[in-house]
Amino acid sequence: MKAFTYERAKDPVAAARAATRPGAKFLAGGTNLLDLMKIEVETPTHLIDVQDLKLDRIEKTEDGGLRIGALVTNTALSADERVRRDYGVLSRAIAAGASGQLRNKATTAGNLLQRTRCPYFYDTNMACNKRKPGSGCSAIGGYSRQLAVVGTSGQCIATNPSDMNVAMRVLDAVVETVNPQGQTRAIPIADFHRLPGDTPHIETVLQPGELITSVTLPRPLGGTHIYEKVRDRASYAFALISVAAVVQKDGSGRVAVGGVAHKPWRVEAADAQLPAGAKAVTARLLADARPTEHNAFKVPLVERTIAAVISQARTA
């Protein structure tokens, strides 16, 4: 691990200001950042520990939703009674990810910013435009079974590895931030993560120093909440694909998919196809899919998993 200096920020704006220093990074739970620092994929020269910022509460919003502090742990969020009752898809998505130890440490904001698990991103001997812009992409033409099938570019086919993000996307969560000047803004989750394009190293729309302070959920949607994750072992593995869905009694609803793109994948026009069935939904959702020979299986897997979800919702 490269040497760095360490500070504990006292308030969010001070943290944001400190983070404008070149080489500075926020440290929340650290479960992803420290892992990447050990293999020198991440090499910050200064860490700003945000644990004292008191952003660890879950509160009701004025319009009947929930405001989740950036530092609420994955365990606390998944276990919160209001989340279990009104946003079951979120509780289930979090419980489907990582291990108990990691969920106790990982935070809401940290999970939003979780970096890809593309093996070529992790291997510093390989070319990776995300790790080293302009160096090329070893994943394209390489072993790509885990990687993205839609929204890819000629520079990057990495996926967003988070389960939580897929549920946040289906719920239309909003990311709230503060910048070094003290200005706040609210970013819809649909706009928060970027597609790789020509700049796969820029993964979100956050500006330098901008700090996530909370994530809000709109008022409860009702319906049946389902998170179905398909992976190579029964627990503690990243998704091959996952489906987050909220389905109403009349068969209408919304659906987002994980493990297929650089961001949690949702196409509103595909939501409208839910009453018509999984084939119609998938046709819209993955209309522009460009899978590789290794991950072409993900397209029918998405369709079959959506079919399973629709059938579960019918019998719920």
């Binding site: 691990m1 040497a3 760095f4 200096t5 360490y6 440290l27 650290g30 479960t31 420290l34 892992d35 050990k38 860490l47 520990d49 644990q51 365990t75 998944s78 276990a79 279990r84 009752r85 079951g88 509780s91 289930r92 419980a95 489907a96 990582a98 291990s99 108990g100 130890q101 990691l102 106790n104 440490k105 029964a234 627990s235 503690y236």
Partner: protein
């Protein structure tokens, strides 16, 4: 921030110092400095002065010589380094010691002693919940925390009804312990030991 290269060397083991000499850049400004941190380990305040890079795991093993907590993968994948921080289990390898100033850390050494085993330690012995024993301290710390998490109503991936109280069933134990790998494959006996302590049939 205190000290300089000399303090860092003094606080390190000889082999650490060797590694640093060969891998650190010669620029003195880039030389490691240490920072003070106090961990409350197994009930006792332990003030330390550490290179910021020191993980909680390395602070426990290399600086406090509590070698019960094991380093397996050092990447949060195997669970051998599991300790309890303020009552919650975490991977001590994926946490900086500096993140835990003032935190109460419980390691396997703090759970029980050879003369007075923690009930979970006794159950592991009774049910043969290990072979080589390397993953065992992490398994036991994790198992103790799992039963607390079930009591506190933390949901799991295998729970059918999110609003129901989670049960201390075999399938729940297996799911909740998936962050602890045992290469000897003592899993079924570990689940039995946990069920024993939980007072449930596995």
């Amino acid at each position: 921030m205190v000290g300089g290269a000399a303090t860092a060397m003094a606080a390190s083991t000889p082999s650490d110092a060797q590694t640093k000499r060969t891998t650190m850049p010669p620029d003195p400004a880039a030389m490691p400095v240490t920072m003070p941190v106090t961990l409350k380990v197994n009930g006792k305040d332990r003030p330390l002065s550490l290179d910021p890079r020191t993980t909680l795991l390395d602070a426990l093993r290399e600086h406090l010589h509590l070698s019960g907590t094991k380093k397996g993968c050092d990447h949060g994948q195997c669970g051998a380094c599991t300790v309890l921080v303020n009552g919650q289990r975490i991977n001590s390898c994926l946490s900086l010691a500096l993140q835990h100033d003032g935190d109460a850390i419980t390691t396997i050494e703090g759970l029980g002693t050879p003369d007075k085993l923690h009930p979970m330690q006794a159950a592991f012995v009774r049910h043969d919940g290990y072979q080589c024993g390397y993953c065992t301290p992490g398994q036991i710390c994790s198992a103790v925390a799992v039963l607390d998490e079930i009591r506190a109503g933390v949901p799991s991936h295998v729970q059918a009804d999110l609003m129901a109280r989670p049960q201390a069933s075999n399938i729940e134990m297996r799911e909740r312990m998936s962050g602890n790998i045992c290469r000897c494959g003592a899993y079924s006996n570990i689940a039995d030991a946990m069920a024993d302590v939980a007072g449930a049939k596995a």
